[in-house]
Amino acid sequence: MATEAPSSQPAPLLSAAAAGDEGRVLLDTWYVIKPGNTKEKVAFFVAHQCGGGSRASSMKVKGHWGSDSSKAKRRRRCLEPTKAPSVAEMVALVEQRAALALQNYPHPGTPAPVVFVSAEQGGSAKGLGSERRSGGGDCSRVAEAVAHFEAQRDNPPAKGLRKEERPGPGPGEDKITCDLYQLISPSRDALPSNVEFLLARADEASEGEAPAPARPEDTPPAPPLPPARDCGASGFHVDVVVTGVVDECIFFGKDGTNPEEPPPPGQLFFLQSRGPDGPPEPPPADSPATAPGPDDAEGTADTSLCRLYRHVSHDFLEIRFKIQRLLEPRQYMLLLPEHVLVKIFSFLPTRALAALKCTCHHFKGIIEAFGVRATDSRWSRDPLYRDDPCKQCRKRYEKGDVSLCRWHPKPYHHDLPYGRSYWMCCRRADRETPGCRLGLHDNNWVLPCNGPGGGGGRAGREEGR
């Protein structure tokens, strides 16, 4: 899974992602989803996994409309309702969902999710702050940032590109990229401390810059909407940090839009007044661009894009899933019935059974539960003697015992009063030293015993002393 921490962001607040209950996913991990085809799909896959396997609730971050995408293709993407949403659309959706999630936070200051966006646009970008990676990144709402940037399209930006290699920007040639950071605290009792950290950082970064709303109530009025345009890309990089618990990732979408007309991008970011039939209406200019209320969530508008989006990547994921299943090595042994496994194990000597016991819990359990005996086992089965201890190590037989025997074949020598003592077989001084001989347990005190581990019963009795 392609996850990487952002290089310029401190990451003291990260922890392993944990699956919450009720199907909610608590994400406490930074996800940097760089634009690109493969990573899009990875991000999709991650979101799919986090969504509990529900393919209908998958999220994908798709932020790169590179120059390899033709304008015509991008236009089709907007015109055809089956195409994926833009970066900003996705970001706005995430924002919406986070807002809904954070509704439950008791923290008084977070009625809505906080989305921090730093857009790297160079000196001419107003309202969006300096480069994020330089530590002075401004923060503003995604909607405003994108809308603001789009508004600037009328005045071609001097630099609207990311720090990475970019050709000179030009209308239609710039790229929109998006890094999505999900910063979720597992704690539901308070505002995540990382959010406060980001808020503080946002406050610092916003000095002298365009407004950087740290809290929804402080959100400045949305900039005027740019004129409708095709879904062409422009040089713009968005780093989005979404805070809060993510219930599920759903798509923000529009339904019922006229496929002939590309939706005004700005409209998509204002979700409060969304209805089931049409695209969202932009709010009045003097109202803050807050996240929609809690009841707006999985509206019918989402359903369409959810459905549409699924059409785009579902086939790929399904095929990949099937291929993985086919290529995945199967655990045939674990599919066998227990009595068949017992039959197989009954053909094995002690050492093989001891190795099997060390393999996995299942084999260990079967050997112990069914009392599998090794083919070379010397544990007496005679009812008269089966409770006798091993004449070498004094161990008593337990059901499923396939252990090897360790013992000292010679006695321990005491050289008192000088204190020089040692095992006569291996010369080790410590009396507690494990046996230097390895073999099979043998509790046949009466019957002669051949092979490794000693001679007759009498000799064995003496050696095991």
């Binding site: 090595p329 199967r330 655990q331 045939y332 042994m333 674990l334 599919l335 066998l336 019935p337 068949v340 039959k343 197989i344 194990f345 009954s346 053909f347 094995l348 000597p349 050492r351 093989a352 001891a354 190795a355 099997l356 016991k357 060390c358 393999t359 996995c360 819990h361 299942h362 260990k364 083919t375 089965r381 396939v402 252990s403 090897l404 025997c405 360790r406 390895l438």
Partner: protein
């Protein structure tokens, strides 16, 4: 010689003589219970747990061994050996793991003792002489022990010294 039709799980029909099929205690019992062995050969015996490829292999084994004497009952006191697999069976079972285990399952389902014995012995031979890690690798088994548990099991089995 009367024959019987066996239908695999995927619908393929195999016609074999009854004596060959009766090496399977399951089929024999089915024929006796349904009275099919005395009737014509138009009856179809469905085998929903065996697919066509495995059934074909299984019938090949049964055909080769149809004149064998009945296998003796298992004796706990008798030593169990795995080096007495006939050469033909050894060649017959030189297949991939999937086929080997499917044959084992089919032999278990159809209760063909001779085939079950040789398949189990073949699997046992694949286990002998291997360390725990090699066993896992051979059979794609995941090690679900924690490090502490694994160390404890190896200690109790005195496994460490065998390495």
């Amino acid at each position: 010689m009367p024959s019987i039709k066996l239908q695999s799980s995927d619908g393929e029909i195999f016609e074999v003589d009854v004596e060959t099929a009766k090496q399977s205690v399951t089929i024999r019992t089915m024929l006796e219970d349904l009275g099919l062995d005395d009737e014509g050969d138009d009856d179809l015996v469905p085998l929903p747990n065996v697919d066509a490829a495995i059934l074909q292999k299984l019938l090949q084994w049964c055909t080769h061994h149809r004149d064998d004497p009945p296998p003796p009952e298992d004796d706990e006191n008798k030593g169990k050996r795995t080096d007495d697999i006939p050469a033909w069976d050894q060649e017959f079972l030189k297949v991939d793991q999937g086929t080997l285990f499917e044959l084992t399952l089919a032999a278990n389902y159809l209760d063909i003792k001779g085939l079950l014995d040789v398949t189990c012995k073949t699997v046992a031979n694949m286990i002998k002489g291997k360390t725990p890690e090699e066993i896992r690798k051979t059979f794609n088994i995941k090690n679900d022990f924690t490090k502490e548990q694994e160390a404890q099991v190896k200690r109790s089995e005195q496994w460490c010294l065998t390495l």
